[in-house]
Amino acid sequence: MRASINRPPTPDVDEEKRDEPTLQDIINIKLIESGEKENLKELLRERLIECGWRDELKAQCRALMRKRGRSNTTVDELVRNITPKGRAMVPDDIKAELLQRIQSFLMSVAL
């Protein structure tokens, strides 16, 4: 009954019906397959550290933990609470740079 973890990836199709992949999904998968997603992630990470975003977010997490008490805060709660703030805090120029990179990637794939 217990399958090994390294069995081949059989998409075990659940009873749930699958949605048609959206354009966003397709782009996402292209990015992963080409390895470009890794590069983008690394770039984004670098930029967010440079501009102080990470430190600010860390401080917010600490503050939240202090407020709720360490033992009754889960990672999931933390992520749910902080994500909207984190998204809002990303500077526009970083978003623009990333968008630019994604666009040029799509151009190169389309050609």
Binding site: S4, I5, P11, R18
Partner: protein
């Protein structure tokens, strides 16, 4: 090492019931199977993939969005996009026992029932082991033997001896933790002398003679016959802000010194040089007495090579340390070997002493041995043949390192040039310890191949870098000098070289390797500012040392007896041999002042402002404990 775990965060952590159940039923077998599915991504991050090209998708909805988790029991991948796309959780809820999943992107454990990250030392060790083995087989991180069999001349031959074993360090750490908690930062309060204090100041102090053209303390030093190696270091020490404040507030002098009668004291000699430099007299000074005393002191040191400014620096700070009256018994024993004892409260160690961390990981079992190595400076290897070396790009390591390279390149005006940051990246990158240097793994009870990772555990107040320009080949019994330009920044943020950043970057959140929060928070500031550069020009044996000093925002060139002001560009273009950086915000801890008058604690901004009132202010006599 069991004691490593004693102090890591992991020990305070309690696993959830689901994890306990899982381990009781299945043991660690699943972790070992999982180990084979781990892929190492730049810069050392781990993810779960059976092969490089695989795109992981949620088994239920087919998407690759949000967080993806793989079930620890059956490897089914589920998504986690709150609030409504939670197929990983549905999987756990519908199949009893399938509670634990692994984050596909970072190889960390998660419990779907608790909605929380969980930690397990065996799991962490499996991941660390996979990472180290991958790094090891990446090939190009074999320790470079230098070109033509040359290796960097290292003063640290005794370094291995002064390695503090983690056990000992932790023992001391736990003893001291109580004390440490009491030390706290004190707010800066400018000192405004009271009427009584003003009277004392007026009668007991000699005002500095300011001639208006040069900052105080700037005085040429005569060359006494190839003594520029000494002059260059003395100039840097004279203008090391916390050292200057110490000597100018009369903390060590012939009258106070207990060592004076018995033997030579470099502390007293240094005090004399300070007095001469800050006397207001601008005619070049001859540090003959210092040279004589240093020579007598250094003649005890076996194998001492003269005329190297760095070795002069090391022996001088050792000499001042030896006569400064230390409080730690261990520090007293280590006068000759270790110039960087963390416990020593002498002025040298309070100013220059930092702590290096070295993690050596067995690639067979993932066991990591951590040691701490005190230091008064950091010796950096030059990057070998930048630009011509293709081996950098043709292996996995290039990918692993690319995250760092990005940064190194951005700090450089022209690509391919050596930079201080590049040297630091090199210093802190994982290094393969091969067959010759097999590390004895305490877990396997065998010598094993391993990966070594250096990082900086504690930054000193003043950070001194020594760029290894002089190489020695024992094979050819010859030395040579590398004349390569190394770019260095005027301000430097050391945050990414700290153990806390390096270990997390390399391994992710592995509680096994992460030290307690309390220790991490000890780092007051990672931002540094350059204040002195010692340069070497010319050949190995017929060269010349000069020092650039930054005082009051202006750079000065100290070339023996001659002092001239120079532009920033001249300094930037110089061939740095030793670089001195000071913390941007100098923080003195309350506990370091025994007066009980905390308002005498001062925090210095930029290190360049100095209140001449300290010169002979009797109120400060007990201020800084020596």
């Amino acid at each position: 090492m069991t004691s490593l775990r004693k102090r890591s965060v992991g020990d305070e952590y309690k696993p959830c019931q689901h994890l306990l159940n899982y381990k009781a039923r299945h043991g660690v077998r699943g972790f070992h199977i999982l180990q084979k599915c781990l892929r190492i991504r730049p810069p050392g991050r781990v993810s779960i993939k059976r092969d490089e090209k695989e795109v992981q998708r949620c088994a239920s909805c087919g998407r690759a969005r949000g967080r993806l988790y793989a079930c620890l029991l059956c490897a089914t991948i589920g998504c986690w996009v709150p609030p409504d796309m939670m197929h990983a959780r549905s999987h756990a809820l519908s199949r009893p026992g399938h509670d634990l999943v692994v984050d596909v992107d970072r190889a960390e454990l998660f419990c779907c029932i608790c909605n929380d990250q969980v930690y397990d030392p065996d799991f962490d060790r499996a991941v660390i082991c996979a990472q180290s083995a991958a790094l090891y087989s990446a090939g190009s991180i074999v320790k470079e033997e230098g070109v033509n069999g040359f290796t960097g001349v290292s003063l640290r031959t005794d370094r291995e001896k002064c390695l503090i074993d983690m056990d000992q360090y932790m023992l001391d750490g736990s003893k001291k933790s109580e004390k440490r908690r009491k030390t706290r930062r004190v707010e800066y309060r400018p000192w405004v002398p009271s009427p009584e204090e003003q009277v004392v100041l007026r009668h007991r102090s000699t005002p500095l003679v300011e001639d208006g053209s040069l900052p105080s303390g700037l005085r040429g030093l005569n060359n006494l016959g190839s003594t520029c190696f000494m002059n260059s270091v003395l100039q840097a020490l004279l203008h090391t802000p916390p050292l200057r404040n110490y000597f100018l507030s009369d903390r060590h002098n012939r009258t106070l010194c207990q060592h004076r009668a018995s033997h030579i004291c470099l502390g007293c000699e240094m005090d004399a040089v300070f007095s001469a430099a800050f006397s207001g007299d601008r005619t070049p000074y001859s540090p003959a007495q210092f040279l004589y005393s240093w020579w007598r002191h250094a003649s005890n040191l076996a194998g001492y090579e003269q005329q190297d400014a760095h070795e002069f620096f090391i022996s001088t700070v050792n000499g001042i340390h030896a006569n400064s009256g230390t409080t730690s018994p261990r520090a007293k024993h280590s006068q000759s070997s270790s110039a960087g004892d963390m416990d020593c409260r002498c002025i040298i160690h309070r100013v220059f002493s930092g702590l290096l961390r070295s993690d050596v990981t067995c690639i067979i079992c993932g066991f990591t041995s951590t040691t701490f190595d005190p230091c008064v400076d950091i010796s950096l290897d030059l990057e070998p043949n930048i630009g011509s070396d293709k081996s950098f790009t043709d292996s996995n390591l290039a990918n692993i390192e690319s995250g760092r390279e990005l940064k190194g390149a951005s700090g450089s005006a022209f690509p391919g040039a050596s930079t201080l940051l590049g040297c630091l990246d090199r210093f802190t990158r994982p290094e393969k310890l091969g067959v010759k240097e097999k590390f004895f793994c305490k877990n396997c009870q065998l010598p094993q191949e391993s990966i070594k990772q250096m990082s900086i555990r504690k930054l000193p107040l003043v950070l001194c870098f020594h760029i290894k320009r002089f190489e020695h080949s024992s094979m050819r019994n010859a030395s040579r000098k590398i004349d390569r330009y190394v770019q260095f920044p005027f301000s430097l943020d050391m945050a990414s070289y700290l153990s806390s950043s390096i270990v997390r970057l390399r391994h992710g959140n592995r509680l096994l390797l992460i030290e307690n929060e309390g220790y991490e928070q000890q780092v007051p500031s990672s931002e540094f500012e350059l204040f002195a550069v010692i340069t070497h020009s010319g050949k190995l044996d017929a060269g010349h040392y000069i020092t650039f000093l930054r005082l009051g925002g202006q750079w000065y060139k100290c070339d023996d007896a001659w002092i001239t002001s120079v532009s920033d560009e001249v300094v930037r273009a110089s061939q740095g041999y030793m670089l001195f950086y000071v913390q941007k915000t100098l923080c003195y801890k309350a506990s370091e002042f025994s007066t009980g008058r905390e308002n005498y604690c001062w925090i210095e901004q930029n290190g360049n402002h100095f209140n001449p009132g300290f010169l002979s202010n009797p109120l400060l006599e007990n201020g800084v404990s020596a």
